[in-house]
């Protein structure tokens, strides 16, 4: 995995003057946002805050009406995007076996059959799915499916991993397994940017937090500081369990 903090002086991800509007309604308006440091970065906020929209802009899935997104100072070309991977809220698994889903990505990386087999076995072991390799991916449980989606993203060998509320539909046990995978990946040098509206999860995972509301970034900083003493009154209310409307 590439370490952008060593490679360049630019922030790992940088947003300038980003805006998206539909039918005259502003959905996203982020003037200035830099994501740097080792992460994980948690983008936190209530439903409709624009978290997933921002994540899709960072990954180049949505082209904003205005503004730019750069990674390590480079605009999001296909080559730059090849260094990113994303896991969605609802895992979209190909109609193939568990191993087939991983093999699809490994093939695209141009690996030989032997290398693909070795890497596939390693990934399956990493996600605790080694006994389900030949099983259809679509027959996995919710937690297993999301683990496979993360493994498939890791198979891309990305430098940045985006996760869009990957545990929102999972039980505590499955959530814990996903969180452990995310933390392990982050510890191994992968830059993780994750969206959630679960404050508890943010507290467990975040090194730094981007707080969003109404399509705007209302506060950004280190998680420890923000959770201890949030500057914004609305955030204080949200963090203490109040409704953020």
């Amino acid at each position: 995995m590439r370490d952008f903090s060593v490679m360049t002086d630019h922030p790992i991800l940088s947003v300038r003057g980003l805006s998206i509007a539909r039918d005259g309604k502003a959905l996203l308006g982020v003037d200035h946002l830099d994501l740097d440091g080792p992460g994980p970065t948690i983008i936190l906020g209530p439903n409709g805050a624009g978290k997933s929209l921002l994540l899709r802009c960072l990954h180049g899935l949505i082209t904003p009406d205005r503004g730019t997104v750069t990674q390590g100072g480079q605009t999001l070309t296909d080559q730059v995007r090849a260094g990113q991977a994303m896991v969605f809220q609802r895992p979209v698994l190909l109609r193939r076996s568990v191993a087939g889903n991983l093999d699809f990505v490994l093939r695209r990386r141009g690996l030989s059959r032997a290398a693909r087999k070795t890497e596939c076995e390693g990934l399956l072991a990493q996600g605790g799915l080694e006994d389900k390799a030949r099983q259809s991916a679509r027959s996995l449980s919710g937690g297993e499916a999301q683990r496979l989606a993360i493994l498939r993203a890791l198979a891309c060998k990305p430098s940045v991993l985006f996760l869009d509320e990957p545990t929102s539909a999972l039980d505590p046990q499955a959530t814990q397994e996903i969180e452990q995978m995310v933390l392990r990946a982050s510890d191994q040098g992968l830059r993780v940017v994750m969206v959630t509206h679960d404050i508890g999860q943010a507290r467990r995972l975040a090194r730094d937090v981007v707080m969003m509301h109404g399509g705007r970034v209302v506060e950004q900083g280190l998680a420890a500081q923000m959770f201890a003493a949030p500057e914004n009154g609305m955030i204080r209310r949200f963090l203490s369990g109040g409704l953020m409307v």
Binding site: R56, H59, L61, D78, R81, A82, A85, M86, F88, V92, L94, R95, R96, F104, V105, R108, S136, A137, R138, S139, C156
Partner: protein, 237 residues
């Protein structure tokens, strides 16, 4: 009534004694229809998938046209293919009229819109589901086509079956371009029509029974495959 019973008994005899004439007709029918479906699939599947994922001016109009072509009247297709292949037609020099190849061409014209339209439906549904994931993995629109075709394989089997059903049951077009020549272009449907008009009900009944058995077998096989696919999570959600 007694006559019909007798004809039916003779028909069963023709089937189970392996009457060479009957089975030659069955084999020719299968050969023509399988080739037609194979060629129509080669054209229709990429065409349908292209319409599903492509974005170009006139796409909507093309989709409407292909959907409309599903209801092409077979006799009109037969007539058009006849005009193309007749001695004075643009392809007359190939001397294909009244050959099994002409019948295959006519069936390809009839079956391709069915396979293309059904493929478009299947691939478009899948493309919507896979869109963000495939783009996230760096798969372009064009290179997503084989992925979508492969992942939609169970539903596409149904499209092929529908095409085969249309081809094997076809009378009007193949009788015009094939001419219903004994031992050359005589297939099950055209023979049934001819023998019934001649009053030779035994052969017509025997071929009818084989035709029905074929249709039921193919439908059954695809249903079993689809069920197995659904159990393995290969079908559409």
């Amino acid at each position: 009534m007694q006559d019909f019973t007798q004809e039916f008994t003779i028909a069963l005899g023709l089937i189970f004694t392996g009457d060479p004439e009957l089975w030659a007709i069955v084999l020719l029918s299968l050969k023509v229809s399988v080739w037609a479906v194979f060629i129509a699939a080669l054209i229709g599947m990429p065409l349908g998938a292209g319409l599903a994922v492509g974005r170009f001016p006139g796409r909507r109009a093309l989709i409407v046209l292909i959907n409309a072509l599903m209801g092409l009247p077979p006799v009109v297709v037969g007539l058009l293919v006849y005009l193309m292949l007749s001695r004075s037609g643009p392809f007359g020099v190939l001397q294909l009229l009244y050959t099994p190849t002409a019948m295959i061409i006519a069936q390809v014209v009839l079956v391709t819109p069915i396979i293309a339209a059904l493929t478009r439906q299947v691939v478009e549904t899948l493309a919507v589901e896979y869109d963000e994931q495939l783009r996230s993995l760096g798969v372009s629109r064009l290179s997503s086509v084989p992925v979508l075709l492969w992942d939609g394989r169970m539903a596409l089997m149904t499209a092929l079956l529908a095409g085969f059903g249309r081809a094997i049951a076809e009378v009007g077009a193949v009788i015009i371009v094939g001419g219903n020549i004994n031992h050359v272009t005589r297939v099950m449907t055209t023979t049934i029509a001819l023998e019934t008009s001649k009053g030779n009900l035994a052969l017509a009944l025997a071929l009818g029974a084989v035709l029905i058995a074929l249709a039921v077998s193919v439908t059954g096989a695809v249903s079993v495959l689809s069920l197995r696919g659904e159990r393995q999570g290969l079908g559409h959600a």
